[in-house]
């Protein structure tokens, strides 16, 4: 029995929900970064399953996926560089320790 499109979309939606939860609830900046990666994977799964079921003849959606994967890698690179910088200056990447900017 072929797997329907809905099944893929539900998995992607669950990934998306996990990602949003991680971004909101995690306190460590590295874990938040992981959450963002999960969010991007939800996007990737969504676009590929739409491509397969909606317009399998047109490969442009795969380019979209490559862009998303690249963005994930770039974001990881820049994000970890920022975390390293923060850790060097403050010895912590717990986001709730960063509370000087208020008013």
């Amino acid at each position: 029995m072929p797997i329907p499109l809905t099944a893929y979309l539900i998995v992607a939606a669950i990934l998306f929900a996990i990602g949003v939860y991680a971004v909101i609830a995690q306190r460590s900046a590295v874990m938040i970064l992981m959450g963002i990666e999960v969010l991007l994977n939800a996007v990737g799964l969504n676009i590929v399953s739409f491509w397969r079921y909606v317009s399998p003849g047109d490969y442009s959606a795969q380019i979209f996926l490559i862009i998303i994967v690249t963005i994930g890698a770039v974001e990881m690179g820049v994000g970890l560089a920022i975390m390293m910088l923060l850790f060097r200056n403050r010895r912590t990447v717990q986001v709730d320790k960063y509370e000087d900017l208020q008013g």
Binding site: I32, L39, A42, I47, V54, Y59, F64, I71, V74, I82
Partner: protein
């Protein structure tokens, strides 16, 4: 990204982008090894590059709308006008940097990030493809992370970078998720083809979901409620020129991107859009203005003021598909907003560089010892407040007229009430400058040639277009020329 057929390399159509990208890329190694006086090469070269790009962009104004690179990229009046505004904003930012980072090693690195961020902004205003929207938005925010974190050993700047990075990355991912649904509903990544194929009748819920998720990404860059909370913290933590850049250039690009996406997909409008955007607009201006009332720091005050300004602009975005003058109003207001806001941030930069703080108490009585910067700040704040005959007044009239023509009279009333409340906190700053006794530790605000040039441009923008709005409206009448 159309399937199968040949796509010619229409490089002539993206010459301004190529110039900005070329200058940015060539300057990367230069900024790496530049020492001493050579450190000034990147910033001067970037300024030259932006001026060339502006010249090339002006040349494209009268061109007929066309879609190039397999219909993924638009060359039309809409994109060209916004590209001009964005390039002007980047140019003024670089002039502020010339004064602010004088004798500072960062003067070599700042222009690169400004160039790449501007490139992302220009692309966002012109691209017609869902993939390119994500790509350019990412290019814009990636360079902006670096701009915010430019001063690496400052704890406040670090904190601002962390906040900006997390929110921007999450907003982008959420927006990309929304974009995939537009593809899923139509099987196309092209905005115009999505517009032609999308059946607004039976897919209403999915369209609403997709547009809601997409709005998250744009609302973040536009600093629109409820995704505005990062702006005050980030502006306070980063340097004043970069705060000015963030408050102007990416915001203009996000408005352009949102309008292009909406008007390409729903040229006839979308049921529920005016009401939805109107509610967001009202919430944004109310939250921004109320928070601005109790600010003690100039950059935070300008951040909340820029949030409120985004709310005013949204009034016309809400009716953009229904009223002829709405696009002109948005374009006009964004252009004058850029000038008056960057003018205010120029003075904030001068103040921060001289006194080391941007707290409003440092401004006490400064009007007496630094008449020129104080006068500029006064004029820019009055223009932001919408006092006639300054540009902000003309822009606000256009926005309110557009909202009323579109049938959103209640929103126009909320807007007017907000603008009246806002006058209070703008005038409070001006009173601080002129009415208070000079504090003993006050020093004259540093001036210099480059500040004068940037101030001159911003003042001209904040005053001239108020007296002669027709000059700017002659430019914004190219806006409705879009690829369809």
């Amino acid at each position: 990204m159309g399937g199968g057929h040949e796509c010619p390399m229409e490089l002539w159509a993206i010459l301004p982008e190529l110039v900005v990208a070329g200058f940015g890329l060539v300057l990367v190694p230069v900024a790496g090894w530049a020492r001493g006086r050579v450190r000034l090469i990147p910033i001067w070269a970037s300024i030259v590059g932006l001026v060339i790009a502006m010249g090339l962009t002006v040349r494209m104004l009268p061109w007929e709308p066309m879609a190039v690179f397999c219909e993924t990229y638009a060359v039309d009046g809409f994109g060209t006008v916004f590209k001009l505004i964005l390039e002007a904003g980047a140019l003024v930012t670089l002039l502020i940097c010339l004064g602010y980072f004088k004798n500072h090693p960062l003067i070599a690195h700042a222009p690169l990030a400004v160039m790449f961020s501007t490139l992302g902004c220009m692309g966002l205003a012109s691209c017609l493809d869902l993939g390119l929207i994500v790509l350019f938005l990412q290019m814009l925010s990636l360079a902006s992370y670096l701009l915010v974190g430019l001063v690496r050993d400052d704890p406040l700047s670090n904190e601002a970078t962390l906040k900006y990075f997390i929110y921007a990355a999450a907003a982008l991912a959420i927006m990309a998720y929304g974009l995939t649904f537009l593809y899923g509903l139509t099987g196309s990544l092209n905005l115009n083809r999505i517009g032609a194929l999308l059946n607004t009748g039976d897919a209403g819920v999915w369209i609403a979901l997709a547009m809601g998720l997409i709005l998250v990404g744009y609302a973040f860059e536009m600093t629109v409620a409820p995704f505005h909370f990062w702006a005050p913290d980030v502006y306070q933590g980063t340097t004043a020129p970069m705060a000015g850049f963030l408050s102007a250039v990416p915001k203009v690009a996000a408005f352009a991107g949102l309008l292009r996406l909406f008007l390409s997909i729903f040229p006839e409008g979308l049921p529920g859009w005016p009401t939805g955007i109107a509610i967001i607009a009202a919430a944004t201006m109310i939250l921004g203005n109320l928070a601005a009332l109790r600010q003690k720091r100039l950059k935070r005050l300008l951040a909340y003021s820029s949030i409120a300004q985004a709310g005013y602009i949204l009034m016309a975005v809400a009716v953009s598909a229904y009223t002829g003058g709405a696009l002109d109003a948005v374009g006009f207001y964004l252009a004058v907003y850029l000038f008056m806001n960057l003018g205010a941030f120029t003075v904030a930069a001068q103040l921060e560089r001289t006194v080391g703080t941007d707290s409003l108490s440092a401004l006490q009585g400064v009007g007496r010892i630094s008449p020129w910067p104080s006068a500029v700040l006064t004029l820019c704040l009055l223009s932001l407040a919408g006092v006639p005959p300054l540009s902000g007044f003309a822009g606000k009239i256009l926005l309110l007229t557009a909202a009323m023509d579109g049938g959103l009279v209640w929103l126009a009333v909320v807007g007017v009430i907000n603008m009246t409340v806002a006058i209070y906190y703008y005038v409070a700053v001006i009173a601080q400058l002129y009415m208070r006794p000079l504090s003993p530790e006050a020093v004259p605000v540093q001036t210099g040639l480059y500040y004068h040039v940037s101030i001159g441009i911003c003042l001209a923008g904040s005053v001239v277009f108020g007296v002669f709005p027709g000059w700017l409206l002659a430019l914004t009448r190219f806006l409705p020329k879009m690829v369809h």
